[in-house]
């Protein structure tokens, strides 16, 4: 598969997984989905894509609710 096409498919897969994470009510399934997304994020990183440093930064959960970021 051509690289650009592979990247596009991985991005599509991430979009589907991210949507599923947002709807999760099971800690088990959310954990598994986040793990899958982390692997896909890592695949994009190693395909030379300029993705953020951590996958959570794309769904805004690096800092859990109720905590403040370092200022």
């Amino acid at each position: 598969m051509e690289r650009r096409q592979q990247i596009a498919r991985i991005r599509e897969a991430r979009a589907l997984i991210t949507a599923a994470i947002a709807e999760c009510r099971s800690p088990q399934i959310e954990t598994i989905l986040k793990s899958a997304d982390a692997e896909l994020h890592w695949a994009l990183w190693n395909l030379g894509e300029p993705v953020p440093l951590r996958p959570e930064l794309e769904y805004g959960e690096a800092v859990p609710e109720g905590r403040t970021r370092a200022r």
Binding site: R3, S35, A38, E39, H41, W42, W45, N46, L47, G48, P50, P52, L53, R54, P55, L57, A62, V63, P64, R67, R69, A70, R71
Partner: protein, 462 residues
């Protein structure tokens, strides 16, 4: 009933010479463009999430938006040093303000050995452990190790990052992992004979120690199931060609080496050419600095390796001083474009002696020690201060065939002294030591014993 074909990798991927050909052979201009994007993202990340970096940047009147080029990054982002982190962690253990993620993101904790000082605490998030392990795999794959291989880990599972990360790498590659945790040297040998692993993971000196003990047991490990030995934690077969010969003969196996720094990454897996390591430029950005002037050391010049890790997001390291002296090359016959460090680490900025105007590097001395006939694998380099001069004394044990012949020891020492003078143009003292009198180590072998007064040495502990 349908039959299912089980395979860890498809035929095309399995036949690749590279773990990731696209990035490992990426042209320099593209690599640098990618680095710039990632460095800018990392600066933003560190400033936003790490109190340590926010304070450091603010003190330097630096904002993330000020970093527009790689030169900006090298020049404007303040250098960091292990001693800074250790001091902050000591004041507020375990991580102080160096943590960039909420503590619940930390899934694994390691520490540096702290042999002469306070250990550095190293936090890893889950994805950090994946990234760190991945670095090993580039080297495993380049050496010929495949998912069908099985790894024997000849070490105790303490807080030592090197072999935890090798374990993460072996899992990533899909290999079988056999743990030697808790066994003594003879127990490791017996376990290898019983379980028949194909890859040995250990420090290089411990691999030689195992071979020597096996010989005493009447066992020739070159006839064992081991096809590859892979090493880290101290200068090994890449830094010391003579050690490569010893390892490969003792084990009848190909020896590989990775240059890792516990708090940074398993950052530079071995080159298949055997004469250096390649910086994993997907995980690390690095450049060389002249330790005297602070200016960038040009191509072909020895300089201190300054590294920035994309792998450790729990405790970011930006423009981190490694105190490792390296010689960087931009290209390699193996086809990798990732920066090559010839001979891995050539020496330490804090263990570089200047004797009558000549720089003496630890690895250069060790190479000569290892290739001198009659010198055993146990030796140490003792630094003392006499008057205004640093003095290095080499204490060595004779090899087993000379152990029972003390009359030959001084001659062996003289031969070593002559070789050092011929190669390095300095006179170092050489003293024989009785067989089995020098200490043995399972993990990092301490070769350099610094007995100089504190004011004459740097405080850094690795």
């Amino acid at each position: 009933m349908t039959s299912t074909r089980l395979a860890l990798l498809g035929a095309r991927a399995g036949a690749s010479r590279f773990w990731n050909e696209y990035t490992e052979t990426m042209p320099r201009e593209e690599l640098d463009a990618l680095h710039l994007k990632r460095l800018r993202a990392l600066v933003e990340y560190a400033y936003e999430l790490s109190p340590f970096y926010r304070g450091k940047f603010d003190a330097a009147s630096l904002k993330p938006r000020d970093i527009r080029t790689i030169e900006d990054f090298k020049r404007r982002v303040p250098l960091t040093d292990k001693s800074e982190f250790v001091g902050l962690q000591e004041a507020a253990p375990p991580y102080g303000p160096t943590l960039a993620l909420p503590p619940e993101f930390v899934v694994h904790h390691c520490e540096t050995s702290g042999t002469t000082g306070v250990p550095l605490s190293i936090p890893y998030s889950m994805s950090d452990t994946v990234r760190y392990g991945e670095s090993w795999v580039y080297g495993f794959w380049a050496l010929g190790i495949r998912p069908s291989d099985s790894f024997y880990f000849a070490f105790s599972w303490g807080n030592f990052a090197g072999f935890w990360s090798a374990y993460w790498g072996a899992r990533r590659l899909g290999c079988r992992v056999l743990s030697g945790g808790g066994l003594d040297t003879k127990g490791h040998i017996q376990a290898i004979l019983r379980m028949r692993p194909t890859v040995l993971i250990s420090t290089p000196t411990f691999a030689l120690r195992m071979a020597a003990v096996a010989a005493e047991m009447g066992i020739d490990l070159s006839q064992s199931s081991i096809k590859y030995t892979y090493h880290a934690g101290e200068p090994g077969p890449t830094a010391l060609p003579a050690m490569r010969a010893q390892l490969e003969q003792a084990w009848g196996a190909k020896a590989g080496e990775l240059l890792g720094i516990a708090e940074v990454d398993a950052m530079a897996p071995g080159c298949p050419e055997g004469d250096g390591v390649h910086v994993n430029e997907m995980n690390v950005f690095s450049w060389s600095m002249d330790p005297e002037s602070g200016a960038e050391a040009g191509e072909g010049k020895i300089g201190e390796n300054i590294v920035t890790s994309y792998a450790n997001t729990a405790q970011p390291l930006l423009n981190y001083r490694t105190h490792d002296l390296v010689l960087r090359r931009p290209s390699c016959p193996c086809g990798r474009t990732w920066s090559k460090l010839e001979g891995a680490v050539l020496g330490r900025t804090d263990f570089m002696l200047t004797v009558r105007g000549t720089n003496v590097y630890q690895s250069a001395v060790e190479n000569l020690v290892a290739e001198t006939p009659g010198v055993g694998s146990a030796y140490e380099l003792v630094l003392t201060r006499e008057g205004d001069n640093d003095v290095m004394t080499i204490r060595f044990e004779p090899s087993p065939e000379h152990a029972a012949d003390p009359a030959s020891w001084d001659g062996i020492g003289q031969q070593l002294s002559d070789r050092i003078h011929a190669a390095l143009h300095v006179h170092l003292r050489v003293r024989p030591a009785a067989p089995n009198s020098l200490p043995r180590y399972e993990l990092k072998t301490k070769r350099m014993i610094d007995q100089r007064p504190k004011e004459f040495r740097r405080a850094l502990d690795r």
